[in-house]
């Protein structure tokens, strides 16, 4: 009987107590390339899933999630294209992007169609982790 209680406790802990989020794989919308730029409204975010605007990066992400037909998944993002370097601390602080994502700097937003393939062929030396480390050292994060 004690094993039954132990197993029940384990199941309850696993279902309710662990900081994991379960995804419905069929509804996932994986993001591969994210572009971020400053606009008059605040921040504009462009990806293969769509584009959204908000007063801040967090709000732009929330807006994109709201209007997307599924579950927008940033953990697969391979490249981040930043059109305004001043956005970096805010983006890095949000923790949406994985540390291995490569970072590019651009003048303006471009058409996301085919961008991932282009950037994959032209790898950047800079990653989110590098930038996070640099900004932390400078005390800007």
């Amino acid at each position: 009987m004690k094993w039954l209680y132990l197993f029940a406790a384990l199941v309850l802990t696993a279902v309710f107590g662990l900081p994991f989020r379960a995804y419905d794989t069929g509804k996932l919308l994986p993001v591969r390339t994210v572009q971020a730029a400053r606009t008059a409204r605040g921040v504009k975010l462009v990806s293969e899933i769509g584009q959204a605007e908000g007063e801040s990066w967090t709000e732009a992400v929330a807006a994109l999630r709201e209007q997307a037909p599924g579950d927008v998944f940033f953990d697969t993002a391979e490249q981040l294209v930043v059109c305004a370097p001043s956005l970096l601390p805010e983006i890095l602080r949000s923790g949406e992007l994985r540390p291995a994502a490569q970072v590019y700097f651009a003048e303006e937003l471009t058409d996301p169609e085919g961008l991932n393939e282009y950037l994959t062929a032209h790898k950047s030396e800079l990653t989110v982790a590098d930038l996070r480390y640099a900004l932390l050292r400078e005390g800007r994060l």
């Binding site: 662990l18 994991f20 379960a22 995804y23 069929g26 391979e78």
Partner: protein
């Protein structure tokens, strides 16, 4: 008759015609014949089907009737035992129970007053050794065990001509009176292992020992585990090799299998073909088997964990492919995989209980037709189907069926844990399995013995035969060296 039978199933009473007839009253195959030899009346008993009528007539009845010398019943008995009856095996029955036991073992019992002699007149009707059905090899011998223990011991003697081969015979089962033979090589096998096996057999007090599960559970002490604590084989050469390694063998009348103990995971992962091929191929195949073990055990759980909880750990292209394959599937990944695993088990069960020809059709219909239709109807995703099928195929690559069955159970358990807590649950389950396996012993030899030693690689890599100079020290063989 009831008063003759003791609570333990044995018979007690005077060795008389009335008592023997009473024990077998109502048995249609029981034959009793009254003979007059000189001035004496003797009785001949046999069980039809177990004995050969021709042998009884020629080797027992004829010599008895030809003995026309005068004398007492005692002298007649003595002459039958020592001279007149030229049957190769003749033994005096100690009591009523001994006579009854001899009768059900294919002997002809002749009663001389209150003394009896049992003559061996077993029928030659038994299944001839055939090629192994499950453990078939390309190069190995083709004589598999049969249901008759004596045939099996003779097959074993042909593989191991050493006079040091010991065969201890006993009966287990109050009512089944199953003949069980413990086999070992004197001067090689650890005597403690042999004694332990004998002790366990003597402690079994059950009605019958007729099924493989009964043998395994009663002999190993029915530990709460799905993993086999004895290795079974239908191959005589493998059994003989097991004895040469220093293990104890067990042959059970009625089962076309030989059991070997102790067993560890390394022994269960070796196939009979390993010694039939060169060491490089054999080592490669063993590595492949360990890979199959890993795939068969964790792949469905890993897929569920990755797809449901940690999609960020998958390469984006692979995740994209999984997402696309799952786009129109109405079920979550967890139910999809668990459902497929259960369907896979059902399919296996169904094909086992079907005749061989129908079983094949069932596999084709169940696996290919229904699977393909389910994917085309977008009820299942191809990715889930591939994962479960790959795990299933990997399970079939393992040499021992009992071991593979245990892994099937753990695979389901690990998938459930992965569906509850992702990689954390899967790791927890794998740790539970490791702890469980670490605690298992077979005749006091650790189940993970090959990996708990520095020479653990021997379990994975098959060394060149001329380098295998020493027997497994975990078995404590008396003679540790097997070649110069």
């Amino acid at each position: 008759m009831e008063e003759l039978r003791l609570p333990d199933g044995a018979y007690r009473g005077a060795l008389t015609d009335e008592h023997i007839s009473a024990i077998f009253s109502g048995a249609g195959d029981f034959n009793r014949r009254e003979l007059r030899v000189g001035t004496h009346i003797i009785y001949v008993y046999a069980i039809d089907g177990l004995t050969s009528g021709g042998d009884i007539s020629e080797l027992v009845v004829k010599p008895l009737l030809q003995d026309t010398r005068a004398g007492t019943m005692e002298e007649l008995y003595d002459r039958a035992l020592r001279s007149t009856v030229y049957n190769s095996v003749a033994s005096a029955c100690e009591d009523l129970n001994d006579a009854a036991t001899k009768l059900v073992n294919g002997f002809t019992v002749v009663l001389f007053g209150q003394q009896a002699i049992a003559f061996e007149t077993k029928t030659g009707e038994k299944r001839a050794p055939a090629a192994p059905e499950v453990e078939n090899t390309v190069k190995g011998p083709k004589d598999a065990f049969t249901e008759t223990v004596r045939t099996n011991t003779s097959l074993l003697r042909r593989h191991l001509r050493t006079p040091a081969l010991r065969l201890y015979e006993t009966q287990v089962g109050r009512r089944s009176l199953t003949n069980v033979t413990v086999a070992w090589i004197d001067g090689l096998t650890d005597p403690e292992l042999v004694e332990r096996m004998k002790k366990r057999l003597s402690e079994i007090d059950v009605d019958g020992l007729t099924t493989p599960a009964a043998v395994e559970e009663y002999v190993t002490g029915s530990r709460p585990t799905a993993f086999p604590l004895m290795q079974y084989t239908e191959r005589t050469d493998r059994f003989a090799q097991g004895l040469l390694d220093g293990r104890v063998g067990l042959l059970v009348d009625g089962l076309p299998l030989g059991y070997l103990a102790p067993v560890d995971i390394g022994a269960l992962m070796t196939a009979p073909e390993d010694r039939g091929t060169d060491y490089l191929s054999a080592s490669f195949l063993r590595l492949l088997r360990y890979l199959a073990l890993l795939i068969g055990l964790v792949l469905p759980g890993l897929y569920v964990a990755m797809a449901t909880f940690h999609p960020e750990m998958l390469p984006t292209a692979l995740l994209q492919a999984i997402i696309e394959s799952k786009h129109t599937v109405p079920f979550p990944t967890v139910f999809e995989v668990l459902g497929l695993l259960v369907a896979f088990e059902l399919l296996q069960e169904a094909s086992i209980s079907m005749p061989h020809s129908v079983g094949q059709s069932l596999s084709i219909i169940g696996g290919l037709v229904v699977g393909t239709a389910a994917v085309e109807a977008k009820i299942l995703s191809p990715a889930a189907l591939i994962v479960v099928a790959a795990a299933g195929i990997a399970g079939f690559a393992l040499p021992g069926r009992s071991f593979a069955d245990a892994l099937r159970l753990w695979r389901l358990f690990l998938t459930v844990l992965a569906s509850l807590a992702g990689l954390f649950g899967l790791t927890l389950g794998a740790l539970c399995l490791l702890v469980h396996l670490s605690g298992l012993t077979s005749l006091d030899v650790e189940y993970l013995a090959p990996f708990s030693r520095v020479s653990g690689s021997r379990a994975i890599v098959r060394q060149r035969l001329f380098r295998q100079k020493y027997r497994d020290p975990a078995l404590h063989p008396l003679d540790g060296k097997n070649q110069r």
